[in-house]
């Protein structure tokens, strides 16, 4: 290092007054505060836009026929349309209702998450209310092992599980007729089972469990009010 060493003779010996210290810190803080607020204000809109675009892109990738979407809050009390800027009520689940060019409901997209091998695996899954089946899923942020756990994104066989994953409700309408289960690779027998990726069982199970947890509370609440969602508001 070529930095000069501090020269003891040059140091001021007089103690700095408290007032100066506060003034210096305060001044810097003020300056920085202005800086941050300016940055925040000027990026607020582009960031919101970016987020919306990213979300819409992944939602429409699950339901390719979709052209528009609306957000609903689903709780035990029923479904509520969320206008942009409106806050999400507590205890409610967010559902994106996707409509095609003819303003028909093409599907619903919800969020799910469960602990995988490394961290929580967050997925979006698409539910088709007409088939009563899960028809696709997309992985959000995750930290699963590249080449093993992240096969859930790429493994074609695994994706095939979600062409029509049975998610019918039972007779009472209070629960899924068959809980969605992840089974060992090669032993899928029923339409509500997910065939795990060989060698990436833990991540596969996380996806299945996450979707099951989410769907088993969401769908019974959603079904009585499906009519409200049939066409865009």
């Amino acid at each position: 290092m070529s930095e000069p060493l501090p020269n003891p003779g040059a140091e001021t010996t007089a103690t700095t007054t408290s007032w100066r210290l506060i003034a210096a810190l305060g001044g810097v803080a003020l300056l920085c505060g202005v800086l941050i607020v300016t940055a925040f204000q000027s990026t607020l809109d582009p960031i919101a836009k970016n987020r919306r675009i990213a979300l819409e892109r992944s939602i429409f990738s699950l339901i390719p026929e979709g052209v528009s979407l609306h957000i609903y809050a689903v709780s035990a009390q029923g479904t509520t349309l969320l206008r942009p800027g409106q806050a999400m009520p507590k205890e409610a689940q967010r559902v994106y209702a996707v409509y095609d060019a003819h303003r028909h409901l093409r599907g619903l997209v919800a969020e799910a998450g469960a602990v995988g091998y490394a961290d929580v695996v967050r997925v979006l899954y698409a539910y088709d209310p007409h088939q009563q089946a899960i028809v696709g899923f997309a992985v959000g942020a995750h930290r699963e092992t590249p080449g093993i756990g992240d096969k859930i994104r790429t493994d074609a066989d695994f994706q095939k599980n979600f062409v029509a994953l049975d998610a019918r409700l039972d007779a009472s309408g209070q629960a899924l007729a068959h809980p969605i289960r992840t089974v060992k690779h090669g032993s899928k027998r029923n339409p509500w089972e997910i065939d795990a990726i060989s060698g990436a069982t833990i991540t596969s199970r996380a996806v299945g469990r996450g979707i099951n947890d989410s769907a088993s509370t969401l769908l019974p609440r959603l079904h009585p009010h499906l009519n409200n969602l049939e066409s865009p508001p």
Partner: protein, 346 residues
């Protein structure tokens, strides 16, 4: 009087070259048997691994301005051992990568012969295990009828490219129900045991050189009898693995496999005879040697039973390697006329 040598004036006459050459000789039957089992692909794998190991050592010799160190045969041993722990279908270009990593990262980076902390062949193998997890878990049947005039399709994969899917090829060449899983994986994931005679004779699915427990035992015995292999390491390692496996088996015979299966399957035998005994990476003091050997055996069984992988020998040995210098220092020899061997200092 020009000659003024310092005592002793005579030597035993066993040199590094002769030890290494004998290890190469002991590995040859295993290599030949693997060629008999897997044909052209195993041959190509062995040649690639050895040639790339030698070339890497030579290139690094050049770069560091040393004279060639190929004559000590140690690079040759790494080459053969590396080939023996890879699956027979492993693409040649990946083998070359493993060999470069084995020599460069596993040996030369530490300062060359005798200075390396980890067994170079296992470093190479661990690297490709992490880099190409699917290729290293692709298995083919032994005694394929066309093995002497046809390569396994994956062997000749173009450099940097994904090996082709060989499911169809495997179905075509395997006579009976070949599952494409190693005995250990079959036990771990399907809960099926392979017959011990298949393990002994090398019919079970395995890496190139892990197949025949019998042959490995004989070759290891040759070295041990010539005093070029520390018999305590295989004995301690296999002994501890068998004892621990027996305990588990007695506790729950339905879940845990019999100890003979643990002993004969996977790379335990090869690892115990030829990997853990690598002189540079194993301890020297008697207590440390036993501790090291027993530790590797125990860790192997624990990884196999409770880890995410079906085979644990490689990581167990690498773990043992890492501890070896520490063991040597914390478990010193008892000096004649002194007490408390484990306490350094007087």
């Amino acid at each position: 009087m020009t000659e003024l040598r310092s005592a002793p004036h005579e030597r035993l006459g066993v040199s590094v070259e002769s030890i290494m050459l004998n290890v190469v000789l002991a590995l040859l039957p295993i290599a030949l048997f693997s060629i008999w089992l897997y044909g052209l692909s195993a041959l190509a794998l062995l040649i690639t691994s050895v040639v790339v190991c030698l070339a890497t050592e030579r290139v690094f010799n050049r770069l560091s301005g040393q004279s060639s160190t190929l004559s000590d045969w140690s690079a040759m041993i790494t080459g053969i051992l590396l080939a023996l722990v890879l699956p027979p279908s492993f693409p040649l270009w990946m083998t070359a990568v493993a060999a470069v990593v084995a020599m460069g990262l596993g040996k030369i980076l530490f300062g060359g012969l005798g200075m390396n902390v980890f067994n170079p062949a296992l470093v190479g193998r661990a690297f490709v295990q992490a880099a190409f997890p699917s290729a290293i878990a692709t298995w083919v049947p032994s005694y394929a009828p066309n093995r002497f005039h046809e390569f396994i399709p994956t062997t000749l994969t173009q450099p940097l490219m994904i090996p082709p899917d060989i499911t169809a090829w495997v179905k075509a060449v395997s006579a009976d129900a070949f599952t494409g899983a190693t005995p250990l994986a079959m036990w771990k994931f399907q809960h099926q045991l392979t017959a011990p005679e298949d393990l002994i004779l090398g019919i079970a699915t395995a890496s190139v050189g892990e197949t025949s427990a019998m042959l490995i035992l004989v070759c290891g015995l040759y070295l041990a009898l010539r005093g070029m292999l520390d018999w305590r390491i295989p004995v301690g390692m296999m002994g501890s693995a068998v004892i621990l496996a027996s305990a588990f088996h007695l506790y729950n015979p339905d879940f845990f496999p019999p100890p003979v299966f643990v002993l004969l399957s996977g790379g335990l035998m090869l690892g115990a005879m030829f990997m853990a005994t690598d002189m540079a990476t194993s301890p020297v003091t008697p207590l440390a040697v036993w501790t090291y050997a027993i530790l590797i055996g125990v860790v192997t069984v624990l990884i196999r039973y409770f880890g995410g992988l079906s085979e644990g020998v490689m990581y167990a040995i690498l773990f043992g390697n890492a501890l070896a210098p520490l063991l040597d220092r914390s478990l010193p020899t008892r000096v004649f006329g002194r007490r408390k061997p484990w306490r350094v200092g007087s």
